[in-house]
Structure formats: C-alpha cells, structure tokens
C-alpha cells in the first residue's frame, strides 16, 4: 500500500506543472492585433474602429509600437477554418517571427474587427465538432493539432494554493506536445465608447478587495461550482453574495455592495432577455454598481455570441456586461456544454489574489482550442502586486552550530513580515527555495541545530499583507557564514580617528577629526581633563559622543588648558587605541591667545610611539566565476600573531592599491567571500588587506593578495 502511495506521489510530482516564478507581466509582453481591412468608422472620427481601439489601448498601457500588428483579415465575425489558416494564423506568426517577439510575447490582444469564431465543418455533435473561437486558435499558434473537439488545457487549475508562482510563461505549459503558447484576450464591445470605457476601467481596476462576488445559483445545479467558489472566496476573506451560501431560488439584483465579479444561470434561471442591463425594462435587470475590474461569466451557451448589438442573442452577453460598466468577462461563441464554461471556483479566487486577468481566466478553462473568449485587458489586476522594499543590513554571525542573524526591516506602510531562508551551495532564489528559518516581523533570530564547518547562505524576503515578496537579491538581504565550534568574538577595535585638532576661542574650544572607515564603526567618544590627557574612555569628563566629525565645547574657563583624547568605538564597544595622535590641548582666551600648559602628574602609563609594523599579507587569493557571482578564497596570515582580520576591496579598471582604494565588500575573519553584486560582462579587480592589532594594513598589492575576474 505504501509503495503504491509513493509511486502515485512520484507520478503526480512528475506531471504537476512546476511553478514559473514569473514576475508580474509588463506592457512589452503584449502583442495587439487589429484588422487593417476593417473599414467601419462607427464614431466618424476619421480612424477605422479596429485601428482606433488598438491605438487607444496602446496609449493607455504604453505598449511599444513594435507590438502593434495590423493584419488584412475577413471583416465578418464568423469565418471558415480555411480563412483562419490562410489569413489570420500565418500573418500573426510571420510578424512574431520576423520581429523577434515570438518568445517574449505572453499575451495577444485581438481588438474589434478581428473575426470572433470559426464555424464547424463536421456538425455540432458532442465530442466530434471542430468549431472554435478565433481567440482559442490563436492561443496555439505555430502548431498543428487535431482541431476536432478539445485539447486539455495544461494551465488548468495549476495553482490551487494561490501562491501566484504560476504566472503565465510562453513555451512552458504543454499537453501531449501541444503548448499553450499565448494567452489571448479581446477588446471588443457594441460601441467605441463601450470599448474605450472598458480599457479605461481596466487600467484603474479596484484593488481594495472590498468588492462583492455574486454567485447567483437559482437552485442546486449539479453542473456549476458556485458553492465551492463561495467557500474558496470566503476563505480568502472576500465578500460574497449570498452569504451564507444558499441553494434556494434566488435572483440577485441588489447585492450588499459594489460588484467585482458575477456568475449566474442567466436566462436559464428565468431572468429573461436583457437582464444584463441597468435599464429597468426587464424587472430582473442587474441593478449593480460595478467596480473597475468587475468580471462576468455565466452558465449560458452563447454569452459571447457576438459584439455587434444586443439583438444577436437573448442570453446574457459579455458585451452587455461591458456596456453596463463591466471590465472583462469569459464567454462562449458556440455551444460549450457545461464543462467548457469557465470554472468560477478557479478564476474568481485566482483573480482575487492578484493574478493578471488573463492568467486567472485561462486557469479556469478545462480545454484549449474550443469556444471560449476572454474579454478585457490581460494585464488587469485587482490586487496590489508591489512588494515591499528589500531587507537591509542582514548580518550573520557564526557560533557553535548556530548562526545569529540580525537585519533591518523596510519601512513600507504595508510591510507585514520577513521570511528568511537558509540554503547550502547558493542563496535562495525564492521563498520555496530552501529551508525557512524565520517568518515573522522582528529583526533578529538565532538559527540553531546547524552543522559546524558548513557554509550557509541566508536570504531574507520581505513581504506585505497580500503577500507580495521582495526579490531577496539585494546584497543587504543576503548573508553567508561558515559555522565553527571555535567562537571568535569581535575583539578588534576600530581604527583611531585621525586629524584630531583642538582650536581655542573665547570660553570655547572647537574640535574636529576624521572618523575611521571600519564597517562596524559606530561613533567616537571625546573626554577632557585639565591636568593631563584622558588615558581611557572613562578617564575624564565626557565632552562628545556621536558619529559626527566636529564639535564645539563651550562654557569653558578662559586661561585654563584643556587636554582632550578621542576614542572611536564599534558595535560591541571595542575602543580604539590611544597614543599622541588622538590627543589635543587648547586654552580658551579673551584677547590674545594663551600658550597651553603642560600636563601635570600624568599616570605612570605612558604612551608609546604608535605601532607602524604592517600586518603580513594574505596569500593564494583565487576567484571562481558563476552566473551572477564571483567566489573568492584566500589564506589569512595565521602565522602573524598580531593578525586581527582581513579587509577585501573591489574596483573596476585597476586593482585597489590601498585599504581605502575601492569598495569594501568584506571585513572579517573568514577565508572566503562570494560577491553577488556583480554585473555580467564587467571585470572586477579584488585585493585583500590583512590588518593587525594596531590597524596597520598589509601591502595588498602583492601577488597572491589580489585577483581579477570577468563576471558572467
């Protein structure tokens, strides 16, 4: 039994579509196709309708001009398969190939004037007919396939957990060798005003999440999924009408709030011709306030019968929905039976969680190459899709079989938390790539139970309330560390401040200095005495504490000599060393300057001349290039008893020639570092400078202490 379960599980893994992890789509991934043979200019503005819709949409969405294609197609709504095969299919394919857009386009938008449906050549019998919508056929460009009946849609219900990791990708989803190449939608309606109104609304679709989903099942129909849809939507904290779900007879006309989605049995529920209307001539007309982004799909066979006028069908029409302020819909151009009607329990929640409209709609269609038409802007989204900014300053500090993490969260108003993943070998590419070690909204965590002498990569993904995740690719959101049973605490003091100067004035002394460049530098502390120079960070009166570079000490006694000492300190309060370079005396005066007095009775500890002995060099530095990163390794001067750490710098154009010449990318005790903030095609020059107790740096320009690499 267990074996059978394992076999089944492994098969389901093989056949389940893998996530695409595609980012939200962009305008450059949309191809707009209009009919250059369509001469009707219904609004008499001098531009034929098909081109006018294409241009209107192009301007609204900033579609690149190269992504607008005019084809000379038949001007009737219904065409033959031969007409499709000779006048539509090759024209679009030819342009996609010659323009180089074939593999970058995800969505094809057919606008008013492009034929709607391909008539059957073999009758309409269930399981054998070859009729189709033009849109469904365009989804399968570049391929030959059996046009009789249907092909299972490989994109159907791919994301039942609403991860949004399955945004559409061309050449990715296939079934029996036939790829769902493009998602095709249509911008059409009864009038130009209707179509332009739809495009306008699609662009400003409501993202509040407050709209109502109308699931109008007038009785318990065993072929709909409205009850399931109601459950799923309520689980996603969406508003549904009715609530709670009921199977009793109903015709919803006055929902509890503005509407974002609608499904019903339409005229089969006795609603009557013209119910998709805001005009009360039909007593059952939908008296809805539609939010921008509101979509429609009903259990009616011919709800996308045509886009010419209301008299084409007595059933509820997608075009009528657009006319009353709708923003999109899914309909059928010929008899779909029930299994080819869009599954409302899929497109409604997928659209609600933030899938683009085209992605949500096509996930809800069981079959390809049949009668469905998706109307609306494919890029329309009703959920915030902007992730918060990246986490910054992620620090990983090794311990015995554990790693201490700290970081700074972004300041976005909708920031909800941070998910930190651990991985070996490389950083995590997304929130499913690695082991989640932390998922909350704090700013520190200790990851325990690790294996010593192992390199761990930590990646932090900030997320908002939707949730949208940050990319986790910024250097501040990544950290790598080698665990070790030997815990080396930070005992390295920061470098000494330089250029410390005291300048006397009337009852005041102006102090100035230059701070050290250590990555863990926090600030300086200045103390004073009137008898001798303070010899420690507590030996005197505190004058200043901060990260500035100047300070005016006021309220002093003219004629008194003040002796100052400045100390730099780091995160763990290591203070810089003292010698005469961090001392400065001054005597305030009124009138003529007064000479400084000499220190009196200084402690027996006397300052020595600064240690100027350079640290030994590191050796054996090498670089290994991978896609998007350069891994550097070296040997630290362990035989130098004063060695305290190594600073790694990077430059372009030439090698760093000192410990301050270039960008500091690493400072610490490790023997390696992976530089992930590299641009492919750029040559980077690296040099490492070892330093000792007295912050004297090694030469760093010698062979073995430097290397260069071309990033890929």
């Amino acid at each position: 039994m267990l074996v059978a379960i394992l076999i089944l599980a492994s098969f389901s893994k093989i056949y389940a579509a893998a996530p695409t992890y595609e980012p939200p789509p962009t305008a450059s991934q949309v191809l707009v196709v209009y009919n250059s043979s369509y001469v009707t200019d219904s609004d008499s503005d001098g531009t034929q309708d098909s081109l006018e819709v294409a241009n209107y949409y192009k301007n609204k969405r900033s579609i690149p001009s190269a992504n607008i294609l005019g084809i000379a197609a038949p001007t009737t709504e219904e065409i033959t398969r031969t007409q499709y095969d000779t006048q539509i299919k090759p024209a679009i394919e030819s342009y996609l190939t010659s323009s180089g857009l074939k593999d970058s386009i995800k969505y094809i938008v057919l606008v008013k004037g492009i034929p709607l449906k391909i008539q059957a050549t073999n009758g309409t019998s269930y399981g054998t007919t070859n009729y189709s919508s033009v849109d469904a056929a365009v989804c399968l460009l570049y391929q030959t396939y059996d046009t009789t009946w249907t092909l299972s849609n490989p994109y159907f219900n791919v994301d039942p957990s609403y991860t949004k990791n399955y945004r559409f990708k061309t050449n990715y989803f296939s079934n029996n060798g036939v790829y769902l190449k493009y998602l095709v939608t249509r911008l059409d309606g009864y009038t130009m005003a209707n179509i332009k109104g739809m495009i306008d609304r699609d662009f400003i679709a409501d993202t509040s999440g407050n709209g109502y989903w109308i699931l109008d099942n007038y009785t318990n129909e065993p072929y709909t999924y409205m009850q399931t849809a109601s459950n799923y939507l309520r689980n996603l904290r969406q508003n549904v009408n009715p609530n709670p779900w009921s199977t009793s007879a109903m015709i919803t006309r006055n929902p509890a709030g503005p509407v974002i989605g609608y499904t019903s049995n339409g005229i089969h529920a006795g609603m009557g011709d013209g119910y998709v209307s805001n005009i009360p001539s039909n007593p059952n007309h939908l008296n809805f306030t539609l939010l921008p982004g509101a979509v429609f799909s009903t259990y009616e066979s011919f709800n996308a019968y045509g886009f010419v006028n209301e008299n084409q069908s007595t059933q509820g029409q997608v075009a009528e929905w657009i006319e009353i302020g709708g923003s999109g819909g899914i309909g059928n151009v010929y008899e779909p039976w029930s299994s080819n009607i869009a599954n409302e329990e899929i497109f409604m929640p997928e659209y609600a969680v933030g899938y683009p409209w085209a992605d949500a709609a096509y996930q809800s269609l069981v079959n390809m190459d049949f009668v469905s038409v998706v109307v609306g802007d494919p890029l329309m989204i009703i959920r915030d899709t902007t992730p918060p900014a990246e986490v910054t300053n992620l620090q990983a500090t090794t311990g015995n079989a554990q790693v201490s993490l700290s970081w700074t969260n972004p300041g976005d108003a909708d920031f909800a938390g941070v998910e930190i993943l651990r991985k070996t070998g490389s950083y995590s590419a997304n929130v499913t790539d690695g082991t989640v070690v932390y998922n909350n909204n704090g700013n520190s965590y200790t990851d325990t139970g690790l294996i010593n002498n192992t390199t761990y990569y930590y990646t932090a993904f900030a997320y908002d309330q939707v949730p949208n995740y940050s990319a986790g690719s910024a250097s501040g959101a990544r950290a790598t560390v080698i665990t070790s049973s030997i815990i080396i605490s930070d005992v390295v003091p920061p470098g000494k401040p330089k250029n410390f100067n005291a300048s006397a004035g009337n009852t005041q002394i102006s102090l100035s200095w230059t701070n050290p460049t250590d990555t863990d530098f926090v600030g300086v502390k200045i103390l004073r005495r009137t008898d001798y120079y303070p010899i420690s960070p507590t030996n005197g009166t505190l004058v200043y504490r901060g990260a500035g570079t100047s300070y005016v000490n006021t309220g002093l006694q003219n004629g008194t000599t003040y002796f100052y000492t400045i100390f730099a300190f780091d995160r763990v309060n290591n203070f810089s060393l003292t010698d005469y370079t961090v001392n400065a005396p001054a005597t305030p005066y009124s009138g003529s300057p007064i000479s400084n007095a000499s220190p009196v009775n200084p402690p027996s500890i006397t300052f020595t001349e600064p240690n100027v002995t350079r640290s030994n060099n590191i050796s054996g530095m090498s670089a290994q290039v991978s896609s998007g990163s350069i891994s550097l390794s070296w040997t630290n001067p362990f035989n130098d008893k004063d060695w305290k750490g190594t600073r790694l710098l990077r430059k372009t154009g030439s090698y760093p020639n000192s410990e301050t010449d270039g960008k500091i990318i690493y400072n610490g005790l490790n023997s390696g570092f992976t530089d992930t903030s590299v641009s492919p095609g750029t040559t980077y020059y690296y040099a490492a400078f070892a330093y000792n107790n007295s912050r004297n740096y090694s030469d760093g320009t010698v062979s073995g202490a430097k290397t260069s690499a071309l990033a890929q």
Partner: protein
C-alpha cells in the same frame, strides 16, 4: 382489514406508476443525449447512465455535460443528478 388491503393496492399502483415514469424519463433523456452525440460515452444501468472514461476529470466533465444537455432540453433539474455508480464511475441518475 379492508383499509390495509386498499393501502397496499394503492402503494403497489403508485410504485408501478413511479417506476414507469422513471423508465419513460430515462428513455426521453437517452433520446436527447443520443441526439447530441453523448450516447457513446456512457453505459446504461437501469436509470443510471455511467460514463465510460478512464480519466476521472473527463468522467466528471461528461456527466456535467449530460446534465447540462438535459437542462437545455427543458428537463427539470431535480429529475437528474450526478452520482457515483456501483462500479466507481461517475454518471447521472434519472429520478
């Protein structure tokens, strides 16, 4: 005694008439399903029409389409329902 006998006779008549109605409805449903080409997808077991398809999703889809076809023909939806047949396949039952 007379009333008991009368009740039994009425019960038998009602049972007979109900069975007859179900048989008539099933035949009528079959006519419509044959007309649309759906007859080749199911096997009849009394008043149950069980779909012959290996794929469960297809079994479900075809059963829905059979119910849809009957509804479009004006059949009262309460008279047909989706069921799981004795052999485990999905189908519809005419009541």
């Amino acid at each position: 005694m007379f009333f008991i006998a009368l009740a039994v006779i009425i019960g038998v008549i009602l049972f007979y008439r109900n069975n007859k109605k179900i048989k008539e409805d099933t035949l009528e449903a079959e006519d419509k399903l044959t007309e649309t080409g759906l007859d080749k997808f199911y096997q009849k077991q009394g008043n149950e029409l069980c779909v012959n398809e290996k794929n469960k999703q297809k079994q479900d889809d075809i059963s829905r389409d059979m119910l849809w076809t009957l509804q479009l023909d004006g059949k009262s939806p309460q008279k047909a329902e989706k069921i799981k047949c004795a052999n485990g396949e999905i189908g519809i039952k005419i009541n």
